[in-house]
């Protein structure tokens, strides 16, 4: 049995690790991005000089041979589904009994004039990081387009390296599709404190280039012009499904799979960012593009390939981010504002807050988020999964908090403030 995995991101590499835990199958992981698995979540830290490129690797180089996982640093040009082969850029071919496509995502571009000019790019791969390094070396003014998690990360990266940074956000408050006004304002304050110019209600119209063809400014839909010799595009990602499409697999936005990650072609599976579930998942989406979901999907597929009978169900939703110095965590479902069905209750203090979402019908807990307040994953999960009803006891709040030693949070007041 030879399992070939295309892509060494968190999904692909987790498949390999979990196959190895339960099976003696031959495993080969092919990647053109990097010879070894890297944590792409840390690309920003490498750029800012917090860590070295070598520190991106979560496992020592010897780990892979010890676990008999063969790594091939090459690009897959073609999948031949009829002959169970993949053809590599070097000309080599690999035969497989089971193929796993874990090809990840690509940054979106929406057809803006100038979007392919030198100095205009997204941030996803290590190649993007290298390109960013190259095009920002002599850059004094930069712009970032996008009001999401990556947008603010790119703004921080550029700012740390001393550039004057403009951040263009389409919404009238940062991530107002997830946060209430108070929460968005916490982020606005962070952006201002770090000297980044935030432009809300602002959309990109085009990118102007200089005589050499390199980006020199961005023009907004309202006609504003901002000088920028580097432009970061952080307007979401889409599944990288080109290889699958060429191989004749059924592809919609992503590679279509069932709950056991089977594509339309027997023997080929797809996992992680590039996979799209035909029937949707419990949380209503059919593509998951988080580090955490990639890891979880990889884990389940790895166990399936090692012989277990499993199907994929998404975890209780959780996510985390850091907006400059502001830590953010969320568990379950927390809408930005109250509605007929949902009521939210929050505790706020200078620079931090927690917010709980409750069902109006029977006061059961739907989710919670925290800004600069750390919550224990295990406890948060238990409370939400068990549909905790009614007031939160101070002791429960104490168990829930994962705050560091010596930080004295007012647990009783917090419990009261977030209770329905």
């Amino acid at each position: 049995m030879h399992i070939v995995i295309v892509g060494n991101g968190i999904a692909g590499i987790t498949v390999a690790r979990f196959v190895r835990k339960g099976s003696a199958a031959r495993i080969t992981v092919v990647s053109s991005e990097s010879p070894f698995h890297i944590a792409r979540t840390a690309l920003m830290y490498a750029y800012m000089g917090d860590i070295r490129l070598d520190d991106l690797k979560p496992y020592e180089d010897g780990f892979w041979s010890q676990n008999r996982i063969d790594l091939v640093h090459d690009h897959v040009e073609e999948v031949d589904a009829e002959r169970n082969m993949i053809r590599l850029a070097s000309g080599a071919q690999l035969e497989w009994d089971q193929l796993v496509l874990a090809t990840g995502s690509r940054p979106n571009r929406f057809g803006w004039p100038g979007e392919h000019a030198p100095g205009v790019q997204g941030l996803y791969s290590i190649q993007d990081l290298e390109s960013m390094e190259k095009w920002t070396r002599d850059c004094r003014q930069a712009a970032v387009v996008g009001g999401g998690l990556i947008g603010i990360e790119m703004a921080e990266m550029l700012r740390v390296r001393g550039m004057d940074v403009h951040l263009l956000v389409r919404e009238s408050a940062y991530m107002d599709f997830m946060f209430n006004q108070h929460e968005s304002d916490l982020i606005h304050a962070q952006v201002a404190r770090h000297g980044v110019h935030l432009h809300l209600d602002t959309e990109l119209d085009r990118i102007e280039t200089d005589a050499d063809g390199r980006a020199c400014s961005v023009v907004t839909t309202s006609g504003g012009v901002l000088d920028a010799s580097f432009v970061g595009l952080a307007v979401g990602v889409h599944p990288n499904a080109e290889l699958a499409r060429k191989a004749g697999l059924e592809v919609d936005r992503g590679i279509l799979v069932d709950y056991a990650f089977n594509t339309s072609v027997p023997g080929i599976r797809a996992v992680g960012d590039c996979a799209q579930f035909r029937d949707g998942l419990a949380h209503g989406r059919n593509i998951e593009q988080l580090w955490y979901s990639g890891r979880r999907q990889g884990r389940i597929l790895g166990r399936i390939l090692a012989g277990e009978q499993l199907t994929y169900k998404p975890a209780l939703f959780y996510n985390s981010a850091k907006f400059f110095d502001l830590e953010y965590q969320t568990y379950g479902n927390v809408p930005p504002s109250d509605s007929d069905d949902v009521m939210t209750r929050s505790w706020t203090d200078e620079g931090r807050c927690v917010r709980f979402a409750w069902s109006r019908s029977d006061n059961h807990l739907l989710g919670m988020n925290g800004f600069n307040v750390r919550m224990r994953h295990e406890t948060a999960g238990q409370l939400i999964r068990s549909a905790h009803k009614g007031a939160v006891a101070p002791d429960t709040m104490r168990t829930l908090l994962f705050d560091p030693e010596f930080s004295k949070l007012p647990t009783a007041a917090m419990a009261e403030a977030v209770s329905p």
Partner: protein, 508 residues
């Protein structure tokens, strides 16, 4: 926000280079005409050193690249220049001026470095927003084997070699500390007083930096105040005052086996403390024994080895303050961990055997080994005290990180580590599935522990070498790591959260 560009740093380097070359010229002329107060040989040596420093700065200007930081203010250029001038002042003192004008050269030397260094730190950190900021730590040439980093390491190593074996070469600098020594100790300075002063000032000044850098974290604020207090007050001022009152120079914060002689009989052990100290001497020896055998196990049970290694110990104090910019240089491979276990436990075995031999010999009044005990004491002191703890332990910060001695050599750390691993309430817990494997924790662990390995599989971190500095928790962008004391039960959990099959937090 003010910004300082590459050109500004360049200007500081150029300014210091010019001063170095000018002073080198003056010293050479002084040596040639035998001008008072300069002594010819030291002057020529120092002049060569200054030329070497200027050359290194030139190399750095040509080759070292560093990203500009948004948080450097224009004060930094002046503060950096003052610090550089202070370093040159120390050189001039060494060439002979220190003996002739101790007060003036103290101000121009150690004083200027202290003030300039503190000013640089204030200018860098006060205007910057509070929050984790290791930006540039792994790209700055000074802390990443650039030309200036090499120079810094060689000068520090050289300083230790001189202090231990050629103290007469430091005469000019020692004399500049005379005035302070008279005030504190009622007598002239010796090279150990000068060394203690420089060491304590380094901990104090860089302690200000550590406090400011981590000021948003209460644990770090308290811990930093603690290490600076123990070094400055208990390991510098108190021993000085003991000397002032004709009492034995005793360090209440060092115990066997780190300060091995405190439990050794005879003249190379606590014999002189009893002889010179009378009742206070008895108290000191009892204090040392109680701390070694009673307080240490109790405190380590409740809090882990951190109560000592990153809160009290002077070596730890230096590592946590002066060493902070060099944390990421600690070797962090599995092989280095393997070597560490052999070396540190070997070191512990050596000190235990040496102590036992010396007691047996003393009990038998020298019948068995004759005068061998003295040789054992001297050899251990040379190998472990001087070379290992001093020259390599601190001198090699810019090459191998900050905890080389603590990790590979310190017998005290070995004992505390064994207890921490098997019988202590301390552990670092991880928060469910929140780890994103970014590696900030592993990169900035001064003990070279691969923290990420544990965090990404949701496993508690219980390691003998962990000194509980809490920096992994500070640099984690997802708040995954938490230092805790708790019940022994369930402390050594397996990979429970992400990897284990029966209990699956990701099912939540």
């Amino acid at each position: 926000m003010n910004t300082i560009a590459l050109e500004d740093i360049d200007r500081v380097y150029k300014r210091i280079m010019k001063v170095c070359l000018a002073v080198a010229g003056i010293l050479l002329v002084a040596a040639a005409i035998d001008l008072w107060p300069f002594r010819p040989l030291p002057s020529v040596v120092i002049a060569s050193l200054l030329v070497a420093v200027a050359s290194v700065l030139q190399v750095a200007r040509k080759n070292d690249w560093r990203p500009a930081s948004a948080h450097l203010s224009s004060h930094n250029a002046w503060a950096g220049s003052l610090t550089g001038l202070g370093a040159v002042g120390i050189m001039v003192s060494l060439a002979g001026a220190g003996s002739a004008f101790p007060e003036l050269m103290f101000v121009l030397g150690i004083g200027s470095v202290t003030i300039g260094g503190t000013w640089m730190i204030l200018a860098r950190h006060v205007p910057a927003p509070a929050g984790v900021d290791n930006h540039g730590a792994t790209s700055n040439p000074i802390s990443n084997h650039g030309a200036v980093g090499w120079m810094f390491g060689i000068l520090m190593t050289g300083f230790y070699v001189l202090v231990y074996w050629y103290p007469q070469a430091l005469e000019g600098l020692v004399r500049t500390t005379d005035p302070l020594s008279w005030v504190l100790r009622g007598r002239a300075a010796d090279h150990w007083f000068m060394y203690s002063l420089v060491y304590s000032l380094a901990v104090l000044v860089m302690g200000v930096r550590a406090w400011l850098k981590y000021r948003h974290i209460k644990y770090q604020r308290i811990r930093t105040v603690s290490v600076v207090f123990f070094q400055l007050i208990l390991a510098f001022i108190l021993p000085s005052i003991l000397i002032l009152f004709e009492q034995p120079e005793f360090y209440f914060t060092y115990f066997w086996p780190l300060k091995w002689t405190y439990l050794w009989p005879g003249d190379y052990g606590f014999g002189w403390i009893l002889a010179d100290g009378g009742r206070l001497g008895v108290f000191m020896v009892v204090w040392g024994a109680v701390l070694s055998f009673i307080a240490t196990p109790i405190l380590t049970y409740f809090y882990g080895k951190r109560w000592y290694c990153s809160w009290v110990c002077g070596c730890g104090g230096m590592a946590e303050t002066m060493g902070d910019p060099f944390r990421h240089l600690a070797p962090r491979s599995t092989d280095s961990w393997r070597l560490e276990r052999w070396m540190i436990h070997g070191s512990l075995a050596v000190i235990v055997v040496a102590t036992a031999l010396i007691w047996i010999n003393s009990a038998l009044e020298g019948a068995v080994f004759g005068s061998v005990s003295g040789a054992v004491a001297r050899t251990y002191g040379f190998l472990f005290g001087s070379i290992w703890a001093g020259v390599i332990g601190v001198g090699f910060y810019p090459f191998l990180g900050t905890r080389i001695w603590c990790r590979f050599g310190c017998p005290m750390a070995a004992i505390l580590g064994i207890q921490q691993r098997f019988f202590s309430r301390f552990r670092i817990t991880t928060n469910g599935g929140q780890c994103i494997s970014c590696g900030n924790c592993s990169t900035h662990c001064e003990m070279g522990i691969d923290v990420r390995w544990y965090a990404q599989r949701g496993q508690n971190i219980v390691r003998a070498s962990c000194v509980g500095c809490g920096i992994c928790s500070a640099v984690c962008p997802r708040g995954v790591l938490k230092l805790e004391n708790g019940p022994l039960e369930g402390r050594l959990n397996g990979p429970v959260l992400v990897d284990r099959d029966d209990v699956d937090i990701l099912e939540m």
